[in-house]
Subunit: 747 residues, 2 copies
């Protein structure tokens, strides 16, 4: 389940003017290395690069995606063993870490329209002669949303657009309630699990989610098998557990789901949905949508099906019956270690999941095979006598698709050790042709920019970093263009959720990166039986040139982190980005205050009502409490302190090395700065999420909320909590700055 | 052919803050009247209002739209006679002014796809049992675009989006030429006549124009007869003559097309198209679009048909065969005069066209019946002994749909008299439920704002002016909201083309207004057989409340202009708006300079090429000559002088009256100020268009270009001409300001 917004997570920057020529690849001194060390490190990386073979990626993808390999399936276990054997053969000390987790699979799936006409939904993706593995129907998981509860419901259908809180506000204005009704939402606009969550909060009794061709189908491009995009019968499977509360096994929050772990009752599991949910194709959705009654929806709600989109609420009547087998299944994480020669207790962790919804050639195998090839090349390096200073840990996670379960359970089971030893976690997932996208901890921003500057882009004569920057300059907004032109480094995106970095970053506070290429491949095979080797070889990265580029970015990052004299953390970029976040929440409050005032005045003056078409019979929205003045001074003071400390560390460390005795201590302080950004109490109403700077949104799912405690309190108009959270985050930033000061003093 | 963007032409403003209560309807002193005169004028208007009867509008609409009544049809002549009889019965001295004009009607219309599959287009709108007049197929004009040339062409089809110059730049980047090919364009984005014009300039041999359901069909709302919108077989007829060169009869440019007028040969007529053109339905377009090959078009080019939109260029192959009967037909303008008692040689002219493409209940009859009812009520007033000071002229134009022919020929035939006597022209066309929209000469902006403040909105308790303002405040952009909240008057839109004001305003320089209600009715019956009484009674303004409101706005405007002591021209609002235009062209130049520089640098640095997907094989755009510095000082100086003179006149005239002897002279200076905005030489390459402030765009059609000489030179990157035009327009504004000074001195 790669975060689909990876391409937007973004990246970006340069030293001089927009069109300055960048320095050639590989000339400068590397962060954390001496001059001489930089040269020998670059020589090592050149050797590493020379080992990489696209044919390996191709062969392994073919092997790993040859049959469906989801959580609990026989081929999933075989794949884990295959991967473990590979890691072993590369020279890694490898184990398979097993957990027992709750996993529902469908017993009964019935959806039918009973009025005004009869229609029984097919709920099936047909085999295609052009796609060899699509015919493995006996082994495929049916189309469904995992962790929907059982249910048998019947009611009028209401179209809710993307099913976000804002969409329900629009319904409120129309006087349309979903209470006692079944909602139909299109995919997009938020993470899928948000749709049934909000629908249930609003009193709906069932939820259908369909792929509209506007977002994912013929509107985007030719459909499979002619083109890459989702055809009328394609369905997006996916988990709908309430991951913004916590990911992982629903029965073992916060602890590893080992055989004998303490489990709660399924009925008490808070991350299961409250209503039954099912994903459907647009062929199945069309007859339902055509029969919706009521007013026509606003422009932003309309999809690309050849019908007029209505709200519904009266017709049609739909019945949904869902029953699941709720079973405990064993999952298989592969964990492969290469012991560090000098600082074995500092771990550089690299991961990608291996499980898929069906065959998963793109998601996740395209990333998995790049990681495997990285590990193989590192193994080759050890044959020449090289050893990493720090311990390298290569992981292949299971059960990511169901809710980051493999990585979460492993992180929870090994939390104490990881808190001590884990320096950095680097994640990949699906990969394609195009542009380097990076999200992650901004303390690693300068480092990963440096890595990107050294990797050649397979299609152009520039580095992958330069091409990413060029994309921002050519295709970006004026603001993006200005920043990419003038800022030394490309600004990396903040991480929300959607792949296995979440437990590392947001639960334990381990500085993390998520990297991948995309923007030129793509299509609509996501979580369908058509995410196949055949599809990837036509529309993905058939020559695996970008697979190799990913191996290089990941591999160089791992090798530099493993070999550096001092870990390449840097804090001025972090301070710069936190400064943006502080500006954003301040402006957000000002804008809300202004908007609330304007809207309240429009309503109370009668002007709002006066411009409504009387035939449309809209309800007048209630006025809202005015937005009070919020004191952001504590946050601004903390930010000032943070900037000061970041600059202090930059000056202190510039061109200097700490004493050999201090180096290990320095490293520990550096990589534990990210821990200082967490609180054991976590975020309000979701204590599993401990990071105070980055979190997936409570009502967006994958989509990140930065300064989440403050921002979500403001968005929810809870001014008391906003003030509390400002105090909390300010203290967190103060503590973080103190750690930077401690590090600086070691020089 | 009402200008469809009427609703956007807009309006707008208020004296105090956003939510200030406006003064009650009808309290202040009217412009051009004394205090006492204002009271009696308002009393007169109240009497006028009391005469208005919605049933008349309904009965007349039913009568006038009962059968197709296009140029040259028997029922068109009957309607002209019916209208003339009405005006006579109301007490107007009425004549029917006839002209002989060129009018082609189809003999042969064949469009077929010959490869990769066979398909013959239906080119027919079917009768509907729910629509009584839709079955009058023998009398209906077939679906076609008038003034397309004859032709029999065959070629590969290329999709060109809206067919604007910018769309062809996109095709250039893809290396797609339309040379020797047939283009298919969707309606929208520009006036329809622009599509074959630009296509022919680019070497295309034929042009199909279809109604995409995204713009005009099920995407917008339920289709007819269930709802108001265009169904799959609906076709938009319309003229494609090159009206931005000149409207009116193609054979008699600049002179009235009287029986014995000097005519050019048809082969020399510059306003006929260069290639054959035909409009088609989306049911007819779908098989063609489905067979387009080549790359997928960009997002902004995609419509709402259930296909992936491609550029084409290889398949399909299409044949178009069109033959027309090119006949001379008689047209019938109805012109009804009521002699002024004091200043008979000052004419207040009011017009609406009476011809339609088919039955035309909405376009134009909904406006025509409101005008008729106005005239009837004025007739009633004269029965009480009232007489207008100035002469009132009510007109019903023929042949508007084919190219403003009726009004243009009448204006050309009576140019000398009109130049002397015409004070103001007030136009209406289609009318519906909703918001007052006003376009026109900004010297009349304050006046028409004043009129609007006195008319109650039928659906709310506010005036139509207040509701229009509320719409800007509630629904407008932040800039619109700020302006509507703080400016004393709603800013009226500038007039381009699209209805009968064009010859008055843009050829002769007669200050004009175009008014109408809309925004809550609408639908997709425009220029189809479904623009019927049945359609209007369900989806238009069935109770004719907005028809009556239009009679009031038009009637009050006519009565005030006819009765005022001094004509209510005002110049500070004009100066304010011209100031905006000057800013716009200055900023446009700066933006083009910046954009050109950025784009040139992106291209020459290789950055532009680097971010393109190599699989898409885009051509690199050529760099463009840099935009030089343009000296706008002459224009800014002229603007400063204009502001000074406008303020001078305001101070001079405030609360004062000129001597009785000077009044007639003052009026003449005032209404001839608009003449001072014209030049006999006209605009570059189109001398018929003489107005230097407002013109339809050479490449937009209906869409207005303000300061057209300057703006279009800049847009075309002709810097020499831009400098010449700056000098010209500056002199024109100086001359205009001198006239204002002359007027001010009379106080």
């Amino acid at each position: 389940m790669v975060c689909r917004s990876l391409r937007v997570l973004v990246i970006l920057a340069l030293v001089n003017s927009v069109f300055a020529q960048s320095a050639g690849i590989g000339s400068s001194t590397l962060m954390g290395f001496s001059n001489a060390g930089s040269s020998s490190q670059r020589a090592l990386e050149a050797r590493f690069d020379s080992y990489l073979k696209p044919d390996n990626l191709r062969d392994w993808m073919k092997r790993l995606s040859a049959r469906p390999h989801y959580l609990g399936s026989p081929y999933n276990k075989e794949n884990a063993k295959f991967i473990a054997d590979k890691f072993k053969s590369f020279g890694f000390k490898t184990e398979i870490a097993e957990f027992e987790v709750l996993f529902p699979t469908p017993k009964t799936r019935i959806v039918e329209m009973t009025a005004p006409e009869k229609f029984t939904l097919k709920l099936n993706e047909p085999a295609l002669k052009e796609d060899a593995t699509s015919s493995q129907q006996k082994e495929q998981l049916p189309t469904y949303n995992a962790y929907s509860i059982d249910g048998d419901v019947r009611g009028a259908l209401v179209y809710v657009n993307y099913g976000t809180p804002a969409d329900y506000e629009e319904l409120d204005r129309r006087g349309i309630s979903v209470k006692g009704k079944i909602v139909i939402s299109r995919y997009g606009g938020s993470w899928r699990g948000i749709k049934p969550k909000v629908a249930a909060e609003r009193g709906a009794i069932g939820c259908l989610i369909y792929s509209d061709p506007r977002n994912d189908g013929y509107y985007q491009g030719d459909v499979y098998p002619k083109g890459a995009y989702r055809s009328e019968h394609g369905v997006q499977r996916g988990s709908v557990m309430d991951m913004p509360l916590h990911p992982g096994d629903p029965l073992t929050k916060g602890v590893g789901a080992t055989k004998n772990a303490k489990r709660i009752d399924r009925k008490d599991a808070e991350t299961l949905t409250k209503i039954p949910v099912l994903p459907i194709s647009y062929a199945d959705a069309l007859p339902l949508l055509r029969n919706l009654d009521g007013a026509v929806v606003p422009d932003a709600w309309r999809g690309a099906l050849p019908v007029t989109y209505h709200f519904g609420g009266g017709t049609p009547t739909v019945r949904m019956k869902l029953e699941f087998k709720w079973e405990m299944k064993t999952i298989y994480n592969v964990v492969a270690k290469m012991q560090g020669s000098e600082r074995p207790d500092q771990w550089i962790i690299r991961g990608n999941h291996h499980d898929a919804w069906v065959n998963g050639a793109s998601d996740p195998i395209s990333g998995m095979v790049a990681e495997l090839e990285e590990a193989r090349a590192i193994g080759e390096l050890t044959k020449t006598g090289w050893k990493p200073k720090r311990t390298i840990v290569y992981c292949a996670w299971d059960a990511e698709e169901q809710g980051l379960i493999g990585s979460t359970e492993w992180v929870e089971a090994n939390a104490d050790e990881l808190r001590k030893k884990a320096a950095v976690y680097i994640n990949t997932d699906s990969n394609g042709r195009g542009f380097l996208g990076i999200g992650g901890s901004h303390t690693l921003e300068k480092f990963i920019n440096e890595v990107g500057r050294d990797i050649p882009d397979p299609q152009t004569k520039m580095s992958v970093w330069e091409r990413a920057r060029a994309q921002q300059i050519v295709g970006g907004s004026p603001t993006q263009r200005a920043e990419a032109s003038s800022r030394a480094d490309l600004r990396i995106g903040a991480l929300g959720s959607g792949s296995d970095y979440t437990p590392f970053l947001q639960h334990l506070g381990i500085a993390s990166l998520n990297i991948g290429f995309g923007g030129e491949s793509g299509g609509g095979s996501y979580h369908s039986i058509y995410d196949s080797f055949d599809h990837y070889m036509r529309f993905g990265d058939p020559g695996f040139a970008y697979g190799i580029a990913l191996s290089k970015v990941g591999g160089h990052a791992v090798l530099r982190l493993a070999n550096a004299d001092a870990l390449p953390f840097e804090f001025t970029n972090f301070a710069d980005t936190v400064g943006q976040y502080v500006n954003e929440v301040t402006r957000l409050t000002d804008t809300m205050r202004e908007d609330t005032k304007t809207m309240n005045q429009m309503i109370s003056s009668g002007m709002w009502q006066a411009v409504q078409d009387p035939k449309e019979r809209l309800s007048t929205p209630a006025t809202k409490d005015e937005v009070p003045q919020i004191d952001f001074e504590p946050l601004k003071n903390a930010l000032a302190k943070l900037r000061e400390s970041a600059n202090y560390y930059q000056r202190a460390s510039s061109g200097r090395q700490p004493s050999a005795a201090a180096q290990k201590n320095l490293d520990e302080i550096l990589y534990k700065t990210e821990r200082a950004l967490t609180r054991t109490e976590g975020l309000p109403r979701r204590d599993w999420f401990r990071h105070q700077i980055y979190a997936p949104g409570f009502y967006t799912g994958y989509g990140v909320k930065t300064l989440p405690g403050v921002r979500e309190a403001i968005e929810q108009r809870d001014w008391r909590e906003a003030r509390e959270q400002i105090a909390i985050v300010s203290r967190v930033l103060d503590g973080f700055a103190a750690e930077i000061d401690r590090a600086a003093k070691l020089f």
